[in-house]
């Protein structure tokens, strides 16, 4: 099942799922991107490689979402999609590298919705079951 937005009185909960950690991370990024701008209005004209780390899968998820937000501001770009390129765990630290595709912000063309201020540890969950991985956190809007 793809990402889902969960009711939260002030902000919004984001729930991502996938067969693997990589799939669930990508699902979560797609969910957050969809909240901000209609990805169908963004063309994959350029790409950016970004990295994130965490002491566990939950904090890795939050750091990845926040890295996407930082890249949006620094590169002044909106994103169409994400591909996870590598995931590893060394000395107790998880590390992920991924490639974002998208293009420079053009407000005449991109249909914007809510900005996301940050991904938080609020309601953070990272659980593995027979169905795969489930990741959750609260996004501050």
């Amino acid at each position: 099942m793809p990402w889902e937005l969960l009711d939260h009185q002030a902000d919004v909960g984001l729930q991502a799922t996938g067969n693997s950690i990589e799939d669930a991370l990508a699902d979560g990024v797609r969910g957050m991107l969809s909240l901000m701008v209609d990805p169908a209005t963004v063309q994959p004209q350029e790409h950016w490689v970004i990295e994130a780390r965490g002491s566990d899968v939950g904090s890795l998820f939050v750091d990845l979402l926040n890295s996407v937000l930082a890249t949006k501001d620094i590169e002044n770009a909106f994103f169409h999609d994400v591909v996870i390129e590598s995931l590893d765990q060394q000395d107790g630290t998880w590390h992920v590298s991924c490639r974002l595709s998208g293009e420079a912000i053009d407000l005449a063309k991109h249909e914007v919705d809510s900005d996301v201020k940050a991904a938080t540890y609020g309601g953070l969950r990272a659980e593995q079951s027979d169905d795969g991985w489930l990741l959750r956190c609260v996004l501050d809007l």
Binding site: L5, L6, D7, H8, Q9, A10, D11, V12, G13, M36, V37, D38, S55, G58, S59, V62, D63, N66, L69, A70, D73, I74, N76, F78, I105, L107, H110, E111, V112, D113, S114, D115, K117, A118, A119, T120, Y121, G122, G123, L124, V138, D140, L141
Partner: protein
């Protein structure tokens, strides 16, 4: 989370208490009415504001009580509307107690205009505000700052914006802390945070950030209204925004730093977002210095936007810039060292206010001299279809809540539910019937911010007024609203 085990005691008509028990170091207190408490208990699902308040009461070094105002609703870590004051020697500093939008706040401008001056020109004014004020996701400001200039913003706050020609020094005297907090250290702020901000100084943002043109509908306290320069029918302007991407990145960076610190100093954490560090630890001091820098960025942002609002009024109505003065500016996502009386003695405490404003009573030296005799103006943003309020701080509030009060109506409904229930077209139509002209950038901003998605501002204000924490001064009604 669940509220099943929470024991609530009514201490007064508008004061409820969760007595100290278990791991709580102090009781928790909520300043609201019975209906507000009933709503909190009924709506407590996975994210419970009362449970979040109890978690705050368990933090080391917390003084007197964990406090929540009538606009309390679930946040992350701290509830929104939450206040926690900590002993500087054995207390902690928390990212969740400040939030990611560091020093987000409200500025109210008073004008020489009356309702008649604007009648029939609402659309023109709304369009000019839209044109002059960069707002919404993806917008950038007219300023392009390099890292050195960003460092100046972080050290000097609103005064740096004045130096660049945005507003005047007269504005500075009517901003909380004069628009500049001491102790800001730009080196405690990451390069990434600064890079994110280079094009964002002088932007409104999105979500619940707005510029609203209002009129004074009713005066409740003549002396205070006179001191604040308010009279019935007068046009005021309310600006709500914060530290933009720089503040968000500081929160993100220090969430990891403070998580490691929580483990290092073995601080018991009941919710992961509540990670914190001892105030006196290197990690705690670094976060504090970074928050002061982020706060100064928010002060500068609101100062630039004030100038842009003046330009929009001049463009739309020919209003001279000097006819629009800063009444006051207060912040509601802050952490600050303040002196308060505890057990009969004045003591330094570190006060976190998450979705709560400072509301100092009469005589406090932090208040502008013009307002000292009546107390600090407390600016409360309502919704674009109801009312906003100007209140004043009281001596009772100093004794009860470390001089803190509510910051808004408080959300009653999730953004998702509001989007379903309130189609933008019908909200805009209804607002037009109420005499409110609205503009928005975000596709769902009007639905998500629909008046029905918020608590009843009148009930929330009456509870705070009734508690004695603050007193009503004036009610403001919206005419034109620009949303991000």
């Amino acid at each position: 989370m669940t509220t099943a085990k929470i024991n609530l005691v009514r201490r007064d008509q508008y004061i409820f208490e969760i007595p100290k028990s278990g791991e709580m170091n102090v009781p928790a207190r909520i300043y609201t009415d019975q209906a507000g408490i009933d709503d909190l208990l009924e709506s407590a699902g996975e994210w419970s504001a009362l449970q979040q308040l109890v978690n705050v009461a368990c933090l080391p070094g917390i003084q007197r009580a964990a406090l929540a105002m009538a606009d309390i609703h679930p946040g992350y870590g701290f509830p929104i509307g939450g206040v926690g004051a900590f002993d500087p020697t054995d207390g902690v500093i928390s990212v969740a107690g400040v939030g990611f939008d560091i020093n987000c706040g409200v500025r109210t401008l008073r004008t020489m205009l009356t309702r008649e001056d604007i009648a029939g020109k609402e659309d023109r004014l709304a369009d000019k505000l839209m044109e002059h004020v960069p707002a919404g996701l993806g917008s950038t400001g007219e300023l392009r700052l390099d890292e050195k200039e960003i460092n100046n913003v972080l050290e000097k706050g609103a005064s740096y914006a004045v130096g660049l020609g945005y507003g005047t020094t007269d504005d500075l005297g009517f901003i909380e802390s004069s628009g500049k907090l001491e102790g800001a250290d730009p080196s405690a702020v990451s390069k990434k945070a600064k890079q994110r901000q280079m094009k964002q100084v002088g932007t409104l943002g999105s979500g619940n950030h707005y510029v609203e043109v209002q009129y004074v509908d009713e005066i409740f306290d003549q002396d205070a209204a006179e001191a604040y320069g308010l009279q019935p029918g007068q046009i005021t302007i309310m600006l709500h925004t914060g530290s933009r991407a720089l503040g968000h990145q500081i929160g993100t960076d220090y969430l990891q730093t403070l998580e490691a610190a929580s483990k290092k100093y073995r601080i018991p954490i009941r919710e992961r977002e509540l990670v914190c560090a001892p105030i006196n630890s290197p990690e705690g001091k670094a976060y504090y210095s970074a928050v002061m820098a982020g706060a100064n960025c928010a002060f500068a942002n609101r100062q630039v936007l004030t100038h842009l609002i003046r330009e929009a009024f001049e463009d739309a109505l020919g209003t001279p810039e000097e006819d629009i003065e800063t009444l006051y500016e207060i912040a509601h996502n802050t952490v600050k060292f303040e002196q308060h009386e505890i057990d009969g003695a004045m003591k330094d405490v570190l006060v976190h206010r998450k979705g709560a404003t400072r509301a100092f009573g009469p005589g406090r030296p932090e208040i502008p001299p013009r307002y000292q005799h009546v107390g600090q103006p407390v600016l409360v943003g309502g919704t674009m279809g109801t009312s906003s309020y100007i209140l004043r701080g009281t001596d009772f509030g100093m004794d009860e809540t470390f001089g803190s009060a509510l910051h808004g109506a408080g959300r009653a409904m999730s953004r998702r539910a509001a989007k379903k229930q309130y189609p933008a077209k019908s909200v805009t139509h209804r607002l037009r019937e109420l005499g409110v002209t609205v503009r928005a950038h975000g596709k769902h901003a009007i639905s998500e911010e629909a008046p029905g998605a918020y608590k009843d501002i009148e009930a929330v204000i009456n509870a705070m007024h009734g508690s004695g924490i603050v007193q009503k001064v004036a009610r403001l009604k919206p005419i034109v609203c620009l949303k991000g």
